[in-house]
């Protein structure tokens, strides 16, 4: 039961309540969906107040700049700001807020401050897929590898393999991913010149167009290789250690002892009894970590010059392109929230205990 802690399913006493399974599932699903939308709404609202109401807000800064630099009238400058941040500074605060929310629902995140005419939505649309591509594939690779190695560690507990892997995991696990990327570039890119870091920049080579072909795919993988390698290496250790402890935990369960007593083959016990159950608690972390890796990608992408959402964020930070900044924060949050939602709903299908014990989500 402890393992499902992070899914609002605590208070083990409730598990014994013979709740109607059907209605409790529906309640759980509805609760999760409501919670996902609540999260998105709270973040969107927080961004509005962050930009508009706190001291030093970029809207006023922008309006004053326009007046000072180009001699615009306040009205003209305010109109320009209205387009940028997708709300009109002349309206009452409450109407501004409603218009802002209304714009968001229609996918209007304002216009980039420094690339006039280019909407924030289209900019994010051009960069975000590359991050999801590199992070997603790296996450799957490290998860699968980590599960396998972690299980092997649990079965050979105390042996050389376990000790060596624990050491490796501790080291890779504690090195910040962007610092690892730096070291790889310094050693293998600049000093040894093994990695052609100059041609590996960007999401794909100049002159190549995104299309569904083997040539394009290999080019995309070539450019994503370095960030992907960094994500895999730095998150692999965590999966190994968590899977090891989860497996060790499962090995102590009564049903494993019963399975042994029944004389089932080791292989069957390892895969069907231990492996499956040990993996379940990791499933939530898997999707949660998607958020952490997407967050961490801003640093890795800056270092490896991979043109994903993190690269765009860095550019926006450097140039103080506030509309783009708030747009990225919102879009990345929404994608993480949706990923978590899908994972939780899938998880409740995979692990029947969730359905029985869930309370109001």
């Amino acid at each position: 039961m402890a393992a499902t802690e992070s899914l609002e399913t605590d208070e083990p006493e409730k598990g014994s309540k013979p709740a109607g399974r059907r209605s409790s599932t529906t309640r759980y699903v509805v609760g999760r969906v409501v919670k996902a939308f609540l999260t998105i709404y709270v973040v969107a609202t927080a961004i509005f107040f962050l930009v508009r109401l706190l001291p030093g807000n970029p809207v006023d800064v922008y309006i004053n700049q326009q007046i000072a630099q180009y001699g615009m009238s306040y009205q003209e400058a305010a109109n320009a700001a209205a387009g940028l941040f997708s709300f009109d500074p002349n309206e009452s605060k409450f109407m501004q807020y409603l218009h802002y929310l209304g714009g968001l629902v229609q996918g209007d995140l304002g216009t980039s401050l420094l690339s006039p005419g280019s909407s924030v939505t289209s900019q994010i649309g051009a960069y975000l897929p590359w991050t999801l591509f590199s992070v997603g594939i790296a996450l799957i690779i490290s998860f699968v590898l980590g599960i396998g190695i972690g299980m092997a560690m649990a079965y050979r507990r105390g042996g050389i393999f376990d000790h060596a892997m624990t050491l490796v995991a501790s080291i890779t696990h504690s090195i910040p991913n962007f610092l690892l990327a730096m070291m790889i570039i310094v050693f293998f890119g600049v000093q040894l010149e093994w990695l052609p870091i100059a041609t590996m920049r960007g999401a794909y080579s100049p002159g190549v167009h995104p299309e569904f072909s083997l040539y394009f795919l290999s080019d995309a993988f070539y450019h994503a290789a370095l960030p992907m390698f960094v994500y895999v290496l730095t998150s692999l250790g965590g999966w190994m250690l968590v899977m090891k402890s989860s497996t060790v935990e499962t090995l102590g369960e009564d049903y494993v002892t019963v399975a042994r007593a029944r004389g089932l083959t080791d292989r069957r016990i390892q895969v069907q009894y231990v492996g499956r159950n040990a993996m379940l608690p990791l499933f939530t972390s898997f999707v949660l970590s998607l958020g952490f890796v997407v967050g961490g990608s801003i640093l890795v992408e800056q270092v490896t010059q991979y043109q994903g959402i993190g690269f765009l964020l860095y550019e926006a930070v450097q140039r103080r392109d506030y509309p783009v900044l708030q747009g990225i924060l919102l879009i990345v949050t929404i994608s993480v929230v949706l990923a978590n939602l899908v994972a939780d709903l899938l998880y409740s299908r995979v692990d029947p205990r969730i359905r029985i014990t869930s309370k109001e989500g």
Binding site: S6, T39, G56, M183, L313
Partner: protein, 305 residues
């Protein structure tokens, strides 16, 4: 990143045995660390780094002379890390630059641990509506990728000094810890001696502070260490992006300069980037090792047998 995930999967069932109530948390911490070889090694490395960073600057020259003849000068026995883009010795900068990193990390972890312990304990102990409000708030903050939030915040409001930086890091760092604390209190509150205390009508505040928290001391210390690694990670990231206060000696500033000024492309400047990078990595490694061996102590099933 994954450190945060780890605390989420900590099992509430393995509460530390209610022993050693009288001893201070720190003494218990050290005594338990001695039982694990790697944990003790991590502790020693960490203590050594703290000593060097806190005391070291007293023995280094206050003003490092810039010397144009020595720009990216080669490393030698007396200058093992070589020279930077202004011809200043890198080793001295590395020694001077740790203090801010360790202090900001410590302060940030302190703030987030206090928030996590107070609200985590309240949520688990009071339950009901208070619990669901706190948990919902935690989930919301937990879903927003914190490094992106930090970058956006720091871009909107330029961070002026290290204390502000520590406060921002601390205020955003609590959700993972809070979940761990809440889970732990949940399991502790069902113990017999807590039931007994409740029957004796000792009062909520007293039960939480006198009976529950002391038994979680080492658990909280472990999460404090994890909070420190998270804060240092975020801090180094903000420095890389140029969003943290760029004054004084600091490993983060060194990395930023070495990277943005293209120092890595000069032969003699390897030490300029590697010095601070390795320092941060070793610091993180020592912290993670300590936290891990602690997890082993708190969770006996993980121990090798």
């Amino acid at each position: 990143m994954t450190q945060i995930v780890d605390t989420g999967t900590m099992q509430p069932a393995q509460a530390p045995a209610p022993e050693g109530q009288g001893t201070g948390a720190f003494r218990t911490f050290v005594r338990q660390l001695m039982r694990s070889k790697t944990g003790f090694l991590g502790f020693c490395v960490f203590a050594l780094m703290v000593l060097i960073c806190l005391i070291g600057p007293m023995f280094t020259p206050n003003d490092l002379p810039t010397n144009t003849n020595l720009i990216y000068g080669p490393a030698s026995w007396s200058h093992p890390f070589g020279f930077d883009s202004e011809g200043r010795d890198v080793l001295i900068q590395v020694i001077d630059g740790g203090r801010a990193v360790i202090l900001v990390g410590f302060l940030a972890a302190l703030i987030s641990t206090v928030i996590a312990v107070v609200f985590g304990a309240l949520a688990a102990y009071l339950g009901g509506r208070v619990d669901s409000i706190i948990v919902t708030a935690t989930d919301i903050v937990l879903t927003v990728p914190s490094i992106i939030l930090l970058a956006v915040l720091a871009a909107f409001y330029r961070v002026g000094d290290s204390i502000t930086l520590a406060v921002i890091l601390g205020v955003l760092g609590w959700p993972g810890l809070l979940r761990a604390v809440r889970a732990q209190v949940f399991s502790l509150k069902q113990r017999e001696y807590i039931e007994a205390a409740r029957l004796l009508d000792l009062g909520t505040g007293r039960i939480v502070i006198r009976e529950i928290l002391p038994n979680m001391a080492s658990f909280i210390l472990m999460n404090f260490v994890i909070g420190m690694t998270n804060a240092i990670y975020a801090m180094a990231g903000l420095y890389l992006l140029g969003l943290a206060p760029m004054q004084g000696d600091n490993w983060g500033i060194m990395i930023n300069f070495a990277w943005t000024r293209g120092a890595i492309f000069f032969d003699g400047s390897l030490g300029y980037i590697l010095g601070p990078v390795l320092s941060i990595c070793i610091l993180q490694l020592s912290l993670v090792t300590m936290a891990r061996s602690f997890e082993e102590i708190l969770n006996p099933r993980l121990r090798h047998n």
